[in-house]
Symmetry: D2
């Protein structure tokens, strides 16, 4: 089962999100940093496209700002400016800082190796894929399409 995330501050959503409340939906969770070039050029805009085109069909896209370096440069206020300038509209949580380590809580729980990292969680809450680096659109679409088809099975929940 995909572990619950831990979030300090939410942006682009009025209410905090919990993974457990998203059962029945396919969840695309992507971890990023606003100063990570591969996140900015590829992973964040890809996640935003999935959100805009497939939220209504059953995919919940959630960004997780897993800052593990340059903390002073990537405070929530800076992240908010970043999301505004890059027209990011999907919900983004700020991963919880942990005393004594640069690695934030959710990043640690999932055992992520860096950013960007993409996670796909199925309708039953199971972590089906976790991948560090960039994933091409065709492959992401293929996997999401199969997971969406599964999520229509009433036995999923």
């Amino acid at each position: 089962m995909a572990p619950e995330w831990q979030v300090e501050v939410w942006l682009n959503t009025q209410v905090p999100l919990e993974l457990s409340q998203l059962r029945g939906r396919v969840v695309l969770l992507h971890a990023f940093q606003m100063l990570c070039p591969g996140c900015v050029s590829h992973a964040v805009p890809q996640a935003e496209r999935v959100h805009r085109e497939y939220a209504e069909l059953g995919v919940s896209v959630v960004g997780m700002h897993t800052v593990f370096e340059h903390h002073a440069a990537m405070m929530p206020e800076a992240l908010e400016a970043f999301l505004h300038e890059y027209r990011v509209t999907h919900p983004v949580g700020v991963d919880v800082r942990v005393a004594g380590t640069p690695i934030p809580a959710t990043m640690h729980r999932y055992g992520m190796r860096g950013t960007p990292t993409l996670m796909l969680i199925d309708c039953a809450g199971k972590l089906r894929l976790q991948e560090f680096g960039s994933m091409d659109d065709l492959r992401l679409g293929m996997i999401l399409g199969q997971m969406l088809a599964e999520s229509k099975d009433p036995d999923c929940l």
Copy 2:
């Protein structure tokens, strides 16, 4: 039901293909011309990527050379050189010329408006999508992924 194609010459396959023999698989049929810029830059390489990555998972990719202009420049011998230079390895059929009209037979049967045109045919042989122009990878992947999931249903056939 998707109509059967009509082919004069096959390239990249030892035996002629028939749509009826592909029941149980998802079929990506793409119509192109070797001198159509949108086909060369987008549709043909996209189809080739689907072939290389998803043939084993159940997608049959078939190209159809539906020449409706510049016939003398796009004879089968020229097409063969094109497929060689562009490293196209998936099966390609040459659509049957019809006397008295520039539109070849398969193009006419499907009512295609031009090239590139993408058709997706499901495990039961039903034409599920026909689209003129370019389709982005994310959307193509999403639809293929859902169709692949369906094709695992034993009731499909």
Copy 3:
């Protein structure tokens, strides 16, 4: 004549740069903000390529961080992290903040309309081009090539 810039802090250079000291060289001055998408995807990497390939041939590339919005998110410490992550090695100055206005001093002096803005200054210190938005590589190369040829004229200074 191109006005002198005003800089609070320099990065990627041990000594402060003055425009007047660059007579005889072609100067590519580009104004950017680290959270401006067009700067990050196009203008900053383009300037860096010019620096890496043409500094030895006589082009001095200078970045100017002209923050006029989201000031708290784009402090010098954040800029330093940005330059590190994006592998920017050319000198960058932080434009001087002015009390009572969001527009910094150099941006005001040059009458810039936003970011990115590209300025080309010839061997005699004359501002030959100022353009808001993205410039394609071919055109930039053409203009720089002509200015470099001029700068070999001993009468330039």
Copy 4:
């Protein structure tokens, strides 16, 4: 000195072109084949952009169809369809076939290794650069800009 080209048929020009008549101008001569992927995706559209944007400023762009393989697929009639479909408007010559060798005459004279090959000839008719493969826009612009500046020197001729 750049050798004169040898041409069987000209397209996109009413009168045959001779290199010797282009003294005083910068000449971009590019050798290509209509079924060479790197030519189609990069070299031909790059040459066309130079033609559209810099012909008036003194650059003459000339394409040379140096067919050395798949001759039957790249006859002048097919080339004409290609130029039409790809919206190529600059003059293109068909290199002269030579009995007993696949290498056409101009290709042989210049000692080209394949396609695409780019040649830059200065205002005095001297071959200044010959390069096999793709050249990036920034570098091409830089060299053309310097050559254009030189060509304004009345001593050039």
